[in-house]
């Protein structure tokens, strides 16, 4: 019982059929993470294919408009495929190759992780199948076609609530039926150990760069770093190298949908309770009998009833703070950033922008905040138009 624990959270709660494969994955990762050749290849992919390091952009107009702390945007939206997801996927796909796998499978919510996985699979000659909730394939039809262009097979998942959690269920089921040649490229800092660790390590490049960049720009650490949280991969990547810096506030923004007091939200820390699901002990939105609750957010990428175990632990020990942000606040922030800085960000990332609009004015001009702008917003334009009641014909 003690593997992959973050305080009381984490663990390996999966069917016996997968246990040897998970142990094999852990051993392989422990070997390759210290292998100079693996690290050279990964760095080459990140720098020369994905476009790292990503910019740390000083949002001067936003700073002036809000009249408080200086605001910096960590531009993960500028990565190849348009989000932070590529950081983890290149690492895991390269690991799959080294392990002798010929096929990768993955879940996706908004489609960002699916597109990134399909991209890496195309580049590294891996067969690729993506599982996506039927509701999300409808919401994100362009991303479905994008994955197919990249050579992946997309399976719409019609079980359960037909969203991200069901896509995870179905990918796990697929993995149990074909383990020997297949790696499940999990998209967030969740699931059974070693996934929360592997995904965090591959995403921690975000805060490794950001920490150096802010010291270069400001000569001191930021007062706060802010990121949106569904499963929590961009947030974990953004927090990780600041955890030891106790004066840096770590703030995760959860999807509050129509509000935390309604039954239409996905705010796990605000509304969830301890549970064991999708391979991990953590917090989950659930009923009194432990049935996982249907959740809701305008953002398909945050529409998940749980949170990664390391976030659950950071919450328990009070090191990170998790705040709810509604659909309305996120859409306002999406439009605000577009008009103010000329950047159309993902509606997921807009949850972080929304919180900073409240936070920055309360802080001093000699302090700074970094927002992890986890993805670009092209995929969300149609949904935002719908939200505003605008009829656009694609």
């Amino acid at each position: 019982m003690n593997k992959g624990r973050y305080g009381v959270h984490g663990g390996q709660y999966i069917p016996e059929t997968l246990m040897n494969e998970i142990i094999n994955l852990e051993k392989s990762y422990e070997f390759y993470k210290n292998d100079p050749q693996f690290n050279r290849e990964l760095e080459d992919l990140l720098n020369n294919y994905a476009g790292r390091p990503s910019l740390l952009y000083y949002a001067e107009k936003m700073t002036k408009d809000l009249g408080g702390a200086k605001i910096y945007l960590k531009r993960e939206d500028l990565n190849h495929t348009g989000s932070h997801k590529i950081n983890n996927v290149l690492g895991q796909a390269l690991l799959a190759k080294k392990m002798g796998k010929t096929r990768v499978i993955a879940e996706t919510g908004a489609g960002q992780h699916g597109v990134a996985t399909a991209t890496a699979a195309a580049l590294l000659d891996l067969e690729c199948e993506i599982f996506m909730g039927k509701e999300d394939t409808d919401r994100q039809a362009l991303n479905v076609y994008r994955m197919e262009l990249l050579g992946a097979k997309v399976h719409p998942v019609t079980s359960g609530t037909q969203t991200l959690k069901d896509a995870v269920n179905e990918t796990m089921r697929e993995w149990t039926s074909r383990v020997h040649d297949t790696l499940y490229v999990l998209g967030s800092v969740m699931g059974p150990h070693p996934f929360p660790m592997i995904v965090r390590d591959f995403q921690s490049v975000i805060s490794r760069e950001a920490r150096e960049q802010i010291l270069e720009a400001e000569g001191k650490l930021p007062a706060a770093v802010v990121a949106c949280v569904g499963g929590g991969s961009n947030a974990m990547g953004m927090f990780y190298n600041f955890i030891e810096d106790e004066d840096v506030r770590l703030i995760g923004c959860e999807a509050a949908g129509h509000g935390v007091n309604t039954d239409m939200n996905a705010a796990t820390i605000a509304n969830g309770a301890p549970g064991i699901f999708h391979g991990m002990k953590s917090y989950f939105c659930q009923d009194e009998y432990g049935q996982i609750a249907p959740v809701y957010s305008i953002s398909a990428g945050l529409d998940y009833p749980g949170i990664g175990p390391e976030h659950a632990h950071l919450h328990d020990i009070g090191r990170a703070q998790y705040v709810p942000v509604t659909d309305e606040e996120a859409v306002d922030a999406f439009e605000y950033l577009a008009r103010t800085e000329g950047i159309i960000c993902a509606v997921e990332s807009a949850h972080a922008v929304a919180h900073v609009r409240k936070l920055a004015p309360e802080m001093n001009p000699d302090e700074s905040i970094i927002i992890c702008l986890s993805g670009r917003g092209d995929k969300d334009v149609a949904a935002i138009a719908r939200y505003r009641g605008v009829d656009i014909h694609e």
Binding site: M1, K3, G11, Q12, Y13, I14, P15, E16, T17, L18, M19, N20, E21, S159, G160, K165, D166, N169, M172, R173, T176, S177, R178, V179, A273, P274, G275, I276, F277, H278, G279, F284, Q286, E288, Y289, G290, Q291, I292
Partner: protein, 258 residues
């Protein structure tokens, strides 16, 4: 000692599964008594879960039907209490860890003891994570039924040596559901199991026809059938009692054939 050992005392066992509360608690009770009447030696009752990751489509849908009908863990405890007025057949629950965790291990297994539940199968509880749950279950005389998969290999020894009640040997990769053919080398898995454990071992996942049941019963102590029975619940709804009786009878007869 609980009742599980009695299932294996008179020869090869037939183990039948229904999802509790599909289509209703009352009907589950009727179907279970029909299975017992037809010769089932042990009954598995599924506590429905919103996200049953080890199940194929047939049992997934049964889970959703049962939940939609208002089934709760408490109502299934009441079902077992009611069954215990009528039968001493060994009964085990099958569910996922979250409903048990959320109920509270101590409270859950205390109710198992009080209502007459003999064991529990938890597909998302592997050996490494079992100790905490096993401690509470053991204190209440409830056996944790461990699973062995076609991929378990060198893990079989540790699982078998620590087994309680019976061992659930998973016949195939993937999720539950009817299969036309079982390709796993069950012979060699069973040999390894016997080497390390005295606990009876039953095989499940994919078994559907009397012919398959007969073949499996040659090498195992019991045959577990789930999806094929749940499919009858789906097909006949409230009227599934008769078809379930006939089906279980045919399976049990095939197992007993020399």
């Amino acid at each position: 000692m609980n009742r599980i050992h009695t299932a294996f005392e008179t020869g090869k066992a037939f183990i039948g599964f229904v999802t509790g509360g599909d289509p209703s608690i009352e009907k589950s009770e009727e179907f279970i008594l029909k299975m017992v009447e037809a010769g089932a030696d042990l009954i598995e009752i599924g506590i429905p879960f919103s996200d049953p990751i080890a199940e194929g489509p047939v049992i997934q849908e049964a889970n959703l039907r049962a939940l939609a009908a208002g089934t709760t863990t408490d109502r299934l405890f009441e079902l077992v209490s009611s069954l215990r007025q009528k039968t001493q057949v060994p009964i085990v629950f099958l569910t996922y860890l979250n409903p048990v965790f959320k109920y509270g291990y101590e409270r859950f297994f205390g109710r198992c003891r009080d209502c007459g539940v003999d064991g529990i199968i938890i597909p998302d509880l592997p050996y490494e994570e079992k100790s905490d749950v096993a401690e509470h279950a053991g204190a209440c005389g409830v056996d944790i039924i461990s699973l062995i998969a076609p991929t378990s290999e060198e893990r079989i020894r540790r699982i078998a040596e620590n087994a309680t009640g019976f061992l659930y040997v998973v016949s195939s990769l993937g999720v539950t559901g009817i299969r036309s053919e079982i390709k796993t080398d069950l012979d060699s898995i069973m040999k390894t199991v016997r080497q390390y454990s005295q606990v009876p071992a039953a095989v499940g996942f994919g078994i559907n026809t009397p012919k398959q049941a007969k073949t499996i019963s040659r090498i195992a102590d019991g045959v577990i059938v789930g999806s094929a029975i749940v499919k009858l619940c789906q097909q006949y709804g409230d009227d599934a009692g008769g078809p379930i009786y006939d089906y279980v009878k045919s399976m049990k007869e095939a197992i007993l054939e020399k």
